[in-house]
């Protein structure tokens, strides 16, 4: 058991290392370097020299990679070219805002989706299931910026319940942020709910057809008890994996949704950094998102390990 947990941690560490190398190498592979890409036609003379010195580009790629990773591990992501400040000073408030948005969306969506998935799976192919599955298909396929635009049109422009775009500063308090966060959270949760619900439904249907559920029925166990005692716990395990995968989507979807609502999070900061060709900033945010993602996957793996004794046997 401890060795299994260690292996999961090992794989997470391997993945983060791998991702950081790929990200670093991608920037190394560009024609020119971080400074010429940022300064464009002004990349000459003292400006270029100052930039090269500030970014430490005169050292070998290996030394810079080592510094980057070691710095990032301690929360130091280097220097933003555009904002001319240390990156960690710029991202902290943004990180908090994105965590608030993503966290709320996940917190609302996951239990709700699991419940809906059970309801749909138990009533397979009946009106409730068909309408829920249809709604899930819509939520999954309609792009987030389309859903967001529709919500803005109805709730911000016609009804004027919520602001259409965020105009408070990144450092605003929770209560100030709250009205701005409602619509983005709805957009994000809709997609999360759709994915998790579909998986939970499929998983419930699978378990309902298993021998032990048949057996429980034959023994005369009440249907309610069969569902909550036998079906739901077993159906949860495969759904966990999907929850982790949808969190991955959440991290990417957050970028789009933040941009639509002009929400002051890491996503809008990253998009702005791409417009500005501020590569150290882009790298830093991409790395932070990747670490969160790997962390969520690790958590899902460990929870599955805790829930499912079969996974703890040898050979897995």
């Amino acid at each position: 058991m401890p060795s299994l947990i260690l292996r999961r941690f090992g794989f997470a560490a391997f993945t983060i290392g791998f991702v950081s190398i790929v990200m670093f190498a991608a920037v190394e592979a560009l024609p020119g370097n971080v400074c010429t890409s940022f300064l464009q036609r002004f990349a000459q003379g003292p400006r270029l020299e100052r930039c090269i010195e500030q970014q430490g580009l005169d050292r070998s790629a290996l030394a810079r990679y080592g510094d980057w990773v070691a710095g990032a591990a301690q929360g130091d992501f280097g220097y933003s070219l555009k904002k001319r400040k240390p990156i960690n000073e710029l991202i902290w408030e943004r990180f908090r805002n994105t965590a608030l948005l993503g966290g709320l969306a996940a917190l609302l969506a996951i239990p709700f989706a699991i419940f809906l998935g059970i309801a749909a799976g138990v009533r397979r192919d009946r009106p409730l299931d068909l309408s829920l599955s249809g709604a899930a298909m819509l939520a999954m396929t309609v792009p987030e910026f389309v859903t967001a635009t529709a919500l803005i049109y109805v709730f911000a422009i016609s009804l004027q319940w919520f602001p259409a775009v965020t105009i408070v500063s990144p450092g605003a308090g929770f209560l100030q942020m709250l009205p701005n966060i409602v619509l983005p959270v709805i957009v994000l949760s809709a997609v999360l709910i759709a994915h998790i619900m579909r998986m939970m439904r499929a998983s419930v249907i699978d378990v309902m057809a298993s021998d032990y559920v048949q057996m429980a029925r034959l023994k005369g166990v009440p249907e309610r008890q069969i569902i909550w005692k036998h079906v739901v716990p077993n159906a949860m395990i495969p759904a966990l994996n999907v929850i982790a995968l949808t969190i991955a989507w959440l991290l990417a979807g957050v970028v789009v949704v933040e941009k639509v609502f002009n929400y002051p999070g890491l996503g809008t900061l990253m998009i702005q950094a791409i417009y500005d060709r501020d590569l150290p900033m882009v790298q830093a945010i991409a790395l932070i998102f990747s670490v969160i993602y790997v962390g969520v996957n690790l958590l899902a793996d460990l929870t599955a390990l805790a829930l499912d004794p079969r996974l703890r046997r040898k050979g897995h």
């Binding site: 794989f11 391997f14 993945t15 791998f18 991702v19 790929v22 990200m23 991608a26 920037v27 592979a29 560009l30 890409s37 298909m137 819509l138 999954m140 396929t141 309609v142 792009p143 987030e144 910026f145 389309v146 635009t149 529709a150 803005i152 049109y153 422009i157 994915h195 579909r198 998986m199 439904r201 499929a202 998983s203 249907i205 495969p238 999907v242 995968l245 949808t246 991955a248 989507w249 991290l251 990417a252 970028v255 789009v256 941009k259 990253m270 998009i271 950094a273 791409i274 417009y275 060709r277 590569l279 882009v282 790298q283 945010i285 991409a286 998102f289 990747s290 993602y293 790997v294 996957n297």
Partner: protein, 280 residues
């Protein structure tokens, strides 16, 4: 093929998917003949007109005919994502069949790397590449093709492992057949259904990804008529001129829904249940 189409069209969702997809493909091909105006022609005398008899869907901030732009708006997105979907299915499918057939150490170590790729948020990585290599289709096609191919690889490899355990493959191995004929003659024909459905499904997710990139300003470049870009450009006038945003949204969503329904119906018609598959 005809039989398959008939099975798909026999269910309402399949018929809707097939209809929407064919409709959009026809629209994209025939766009120059359908559109009454040049989609990029600006007209200073006809700015932000509400829908009327000349401009069926109104005009945008630069006086361009929204109907003509909507009709043209899927061409780039469909071309880019279809190419990328073909690339993803080909390389992911081939690699998946290969690893699923050979198994052993090669397979085990390669899957570690595949898992590592699957556990990075690829859209963010794509954004990183865009900030280096610049936006546009030439950056996006190979990247979409590569990243979605990794997901195809994972699915196809799982299916290939099951096929390679079956008797006719064992028999071919026992006959001393070389790897290549086994891959192409024994494995591929038994996995082509999965490849088809995987490819179609990935295509619909790629459309979603590409239009999101266009919306963010990294896909199509102005003045190209593109649905995602149109929404981004006209969004500021949502309260006074919603037609500039509404129609591109409808067109884009109906195409993605159509392909998705079609892929689902093809899967069901071929006896593959995709209920448990996830978008990655």
């Amino acid at each position: 093929m005809l039989k398959l189409l008939a099975t798909i069209a026999s269910k309402p969702s399949g018929a809707l998917g097939l209809g929407l997809t064919l409709f959009h493909l026809a629209l994209a091909v025939l766009a120059p003949w359908i559109a009454p105006f040049d989609p990029t022609a600006q007209n200073a005398d006809a700015i932000l007109l509400a829908p009327n008899a000349t401009h069926l869907m109104g005009t945008d901030t630069l006086g361009r005919d929204v109907f003509s732009r909507v009709v043209h708006g899927g061409r780039l997105a469909i071309a880019v994502t279809f190419t990328a979907a073909v690339i993803a299915t080909l390389w992911g499918g081939f690699a998946g069949i290969f690893f699923g057939t050979v198994g052993g150490r090669v397979d085990e170590y390669s899957m570690r790397i595949v898992d590592a790729f699957l556990s990075m948020p690829w859209l963010l990585f794509l954004l990183l590449i865009i900030s280096i290599g610049g936006a546009g289709p030439l950056t996006i096609i190979p990247n979409l093709g590569f990243f979605y191919g990794v997901a195809v690889l994972r699915v196809v490899r799982g299916a290939a492992m099951q096929v390679s355990a079956r008797d006719f493959v064992t028999a071919a191995k026992a006959r001393g057949e070389a790897l290549w004929p086994i891959l192409t003659r024994e494995m591929f024909p038994n996995l082509s259904d999965i490849l088809l459905v995987e490819g179609a499904m990935r295509w619909s997710w790629m459309l979603l990804a590409f239009s999101s990139l266009s919306f963010l300003g990294f896909g199509a470049t102005p003045p190209t008529p593109d649905w995602g870009l149109m929404v981004a450009q006209e969004r500021g006038l949502l309260s006074t001129a919603p037609w500039g945003v509404f129609w591109p949204c409808v067109a884009l969503s109906s195409l993605i829904i159509g392909i998705n329904l079609l892929a689902d119906a093809v899967g069901k018609a071929l006896g593959l249940d995709r209920a448990t598959a996830v978008a990655v």
